[in-house]
């Protein structure tokens, strides 16, 4: 055995150590991204990882012969498992309820495999060094590798490659070690061709993963969000992004914030309760938009509600809020309730065909920032909505900010009035959005202000409702045109008013 091979094995120690630590850091980071509460997640992940490494070291004594080929196979396996781990975790996060089990299993497997590496390497090298030299050399390289990993990971890998690509890259390094060892010790190992082939195939698989990692997480996108992106998906209609910072979840559709889990209750309580609390005999409710199920969560608090029909365009959206554990906690599994019927359809066409009547209707569409969505705020749409509203019923519409976009807000009001609705505009403060506006529309002047609310409300009370109905001077009603399919004035107002803010 020549000097070259010694150096090679020591470099392997260095690479293996670096990779091992990076897997640990990836698992910890992913866990705190996806599950939040980084102190707990990091501690438990590191604990589990180190413990698994211990198991690996213990198992190493059962490997008797062909240590080099075992080592090579081990490296390939570490590369494959570690390299694909973050992809697997990102993919299952969307739909698997027992996400933690998969997370800890992967951490466990990687830990065991990494734990096997150093003992096996020591045994390969044991005849080539004196024991004291061996220990000294191995641990020196091991700890230098650890230092390198801990510096490179936060400063270079995460900012420039992102989690998924980092995993694949580290996996490729592991398999690279396997391949080099395989070539160098060709004469000493059996089945060298088989090992070499599997190493090359694995390397190729990981390279493919590396190249296509962008499909899983659009890395450039993560730069535009302040918080960590934990989920992103492009549906035929929109790009859904879920971010997390600490315990706060935020949902973005096409880059626009839809809710922030720390204050969404202010929005949804204000959207639902002023209307629904005033309808003690309401049975059937229609929600249009609102695929997050948060408005439905509020609606289901009323025992008199028998059915809720949710019409949301995007199956990707309602599917996500029907399956992900974190989001189910947030919407209290509202979309899974037997009372709730989810229909993935275009609201305008659906309303044109449906002949049912509803006692309470929630119109919770995205802001009218383009001509497509703008159609859902026109007199033609409200005329249809009127035919779906049962007599004595109430319809409530999210109507953008009366503070930032007063013309837009009051256009919704004017448009509703133009088709014969009576309107009751109101507003409240939602810190993530600012001052936000809603409009209740009724066919006759039936609205009776509720004086009590269901227990458990965090925002709305009789007193806060009085404040909500009052419009200070800076949000007072302005004269606007009616928004129609053939003029789309709302989109133009909205663009003007928000462009001066953003």
């Amino acid at each position: 055995m020549n000097k070259k091979l010694h150096a090679l094995l020591l470099i392997s120690v260095f690479v293996v150590a670096t990779c091992g630590l990076i897997y640990e850091l990836i698992a910890g980071t992913l866990a705190s991204y996806l599950l939040g509460d980084s102190v707990t997640q990091f501690s438990t992940i590191i604990g589990a990882y180190l413990f698994s490494m211990g198991i690996g070291s213990w198992i190493s004594k059962y490997f008797e012969k062909n240590i080099i080929s075992w080592f090579i196979q081990l490296e390939i396996l570490v590369g494959l498992v570690g390299g694909t781990s973050s992809t697997i975790l990102f993919l299952v996060f969307e739909s698997v309820a027992s996400f933690r089990i998969i997370l800890y299993s992967l951490v466990g497997i990687t830990g065991v495999l990494v734990g096997l590496e150093i003992p096996l390497l020591m045994r390969i090298l044991r005849d080539r060094y004196e024991f004291k030299d061996l220990v000294s050399k191995i641990f020196t390289f091991d700890y230098i590798g650890a230092l390198l990993a801990s510096i490179v990971f936060p400063l270079l890998l995460i900012p420039y490659l992102g989690l998924v690509k980092t995993s694949y890259m580290v996996g490729i390094l592991n398999v690279g070690v396997a391949l080099i060892v395989c070539i160098s010790f060709k004469k000493e190992i059996k089945a060298a061709v088989y090992l070499q082939t599997s190493a090359i195939l694995s390397m190729m698989a990981l390279l493919v993963g590396f190249v296509y990692a962008g499909v899983i997480t659009n890395f450039s996108e993560s730069l535009t969000y302040a918080d960590t992106i934990i989920y992103s998906k492009s549906t035929p209609y929109q790009r859904i992004i879920l971010t997390k910072k600490g315990k706060v979840l935020r949902l973005f559709l096409n880059g626009n914030l839809q809710f922030s889990s720390d204050d969404e209750y202010r929005y949804h309580e204000a959207l639902v309760h002023p209307g629904l609390q005033a309808l003690p005999n309401a049975h059937n409710v229609l929600v249009m938009g609102g695929g997050d199920g948060l408005a439905v969560r509020e609606i289901l608090k009323y025992p008199n509600i028998q059915s809720v029909t949710l019409v949301d365009l995007d199956k990707g959206m309602t599917g996500l809020f029907k399956s992900n554990r974190m989001l189910l906690n947030l919407n209290k599994s509202s979309l899974l309730s037997p009372k709730v019927k989810v229909i993935n359809a275009d609201a305008f066409s659906w309303l044109r065909q449906d002949k049912k009547k509803f006692d309470f209707m929630v119109i919770d569409f995205p802001d009218p920032s383009n001509y497509s969505v703008g159609k859902l705020y026109t007199n033609s749409f409200y005329k249809l909505a009127k035919t779906a509203l049962a007599s004595g019923g109430i319809m409530v519409i999210q109507a953008t900010s009366p503070y930032v976009a007063p013309k837009s807000f009051w256009t919704v009001d004017t448009t509703l009035r133009s088709v014969g609705f009576h309107t009751i505009p109101y507003h409240n403060n939602v810190p993530s959005f600012g001052e936000w506006g809603y409009i209740m529309a009724t066919e006759s002047l039936v609205y009776k202000k509720p004086t009590t609310f269901l227990p458990g409300m965090r925002f709305i009370t009789k007193e806060s409702l009085d404040l909500m109905f009052y419009f200070p001077k800076d949000m007072a009603k302005v004269k606007t045109e009616v928004n129609k399919l053939n003029n789309q004035v709302l989109v133009k107002y909205f663009e003007d008013e928000w462009s001066s803010v953003l």
């Binding site: 035929p236 275009d346 969505v373 159609k375 026109t378 033609s380 129609k484 399919l485 989109v491």
Partner: protein
Amino acid sequence: MNGHPFYKGANLLSGSNRRSFLLKAGIITTGIMLNGCLRKLKPNTPYKNITGTIKGPNAKAGHILRDKLSLPVSTGTRQVKTLIIGSGISGLSAARYLKMQGHLDFELLELEDHVGGNAHSGKNNVSAYPLGAHYITIANNEDTLLTDFLQHCGVITGFENNLPVYNEYYLCFDPEERLLINGQWQEGLVPEFGLNSTDKFEVKKFFTLIEQFKMAKGNDGKYAFDIPIDNSSADDSFRALDRISFKTYLNQQKLTSKYLLWYVNYCCKDDYGQKIDKISAWAGLHYFASRRGKAANADANAVLTWPEGNGWLTKKLEADVSGHVLKKIMCYSISYNQQGKVVAGIYNITSGTTSTIVADNVIMATPQFINQRLLKEGVTRIMDYSSFNYSPWFIANITVNHLPQAKGMGLCWDNVAYDTPSVGYVNAGQQTINMVDEKRVLTWYLPLCDHEPRVARLAAYTRTYEQWMDIMIPELEYMHPGITEAIEHVECWIWGHGMIYPAVNYIWGPNRDAAKQPVNNTLFFAHTDLSGISIFEEAFHQGIRAAKQVLAIYGK
């Protein structure tokens, strides 16, 4: 007054004109064929991702007429009181009016397998789309025949303060128009972006002029420009404008801004399929000054449109006369028998048999270039067929799976690029209420006006599908860089005789009036080429005018 001797020629196919036509046609078609051969030599075509075909009006039937092929012997004869030939808007409107007045013994013959003529439409799994006429403007309020029809088919839903309320699903959805000019899409088609103050001033001056013409009335108290065209004032101070070209007129008014001239040219191409040098000034101004419609719920000049364009209106007209329409039945001759009745030779395209219809009277809802071949000896009209000029058109319905983003205004209904040969494209899916996914059908309109119509027509029939792509794709790429990749399918449609165009001295010259005259009070004529401008409203009134002439015979 004599700048256009070509159009005054009594017989275009005589003497030097004939030679020059043959020479031009020869050079151009040879060029196209050579180009086609060269194209075949190139190993890889750049449009591999694009499928599609070229279609057009029933060419086989046309050839039977033109080439006077021998047809089988007539197998039978039947009688009908009134026969209508042609189910374009004029024919449908005539039929509808007869039925409305209780005159029920009539048949409407159509050689195609569908009604509608130039308002034809198509459909694929993305959208319905127009293959010709694709919009109308809101009606002039005094045109009660038209507003009654629009109310009847649900386009007008009621009246408020005496103004019609239009169905808002049919009023063109906003945003309506955009223009790619000086590197950016601007809203609206009148050039604005990047114009200097002189240009802007001229544009303003032009529209001030138009506003005056809009309200101008002649010494007979009639509007100078009206729809139907025959309601316009006879005052010669206005009609004199028909004797000069629009180009000459603009020159006289010292309107020379290239942006303004582009815009006016665009409008003439859009409505008449020709440029300002070919169009009479009266007709050019009529486009801008004849529409005074007011609505309770839309701006003046608001546009009504449907995914299938005016195909939607033809369906409504057809429904009103169902049971009277016979499709794939071609009339190939019209003559008189000894009793003075009209004899129509009929060819059944499906069965390949001929028969004879003997009618008391016939409404020829066919263009004059067809009548020229249908009307046989014994039918005398004192008129010059060669004064009728038709613009050829190329229309492409382009299915794209997305539209590359561009700077400025987003997708509108009508999308035009400054200074390009086409008149742009319309978004067939404009009137959808759904959140649109990325797939769309764009209807691209190209008037073939760079050569005289006969040459352009021949050239159009000669071009292959790839050669049409070579014409269309570079312009689309200019509008939307990268769009070629997004194109899935292109359905091409060629209208050899797309529409009449109002050449100098045509509208108020002698031939149009002569062609309108009935023959023996048994043959009547209804077509937009008898108006001189090819719009739905004219066709609608042409049909009613002829129907009224028929009804008069019966004292109705």
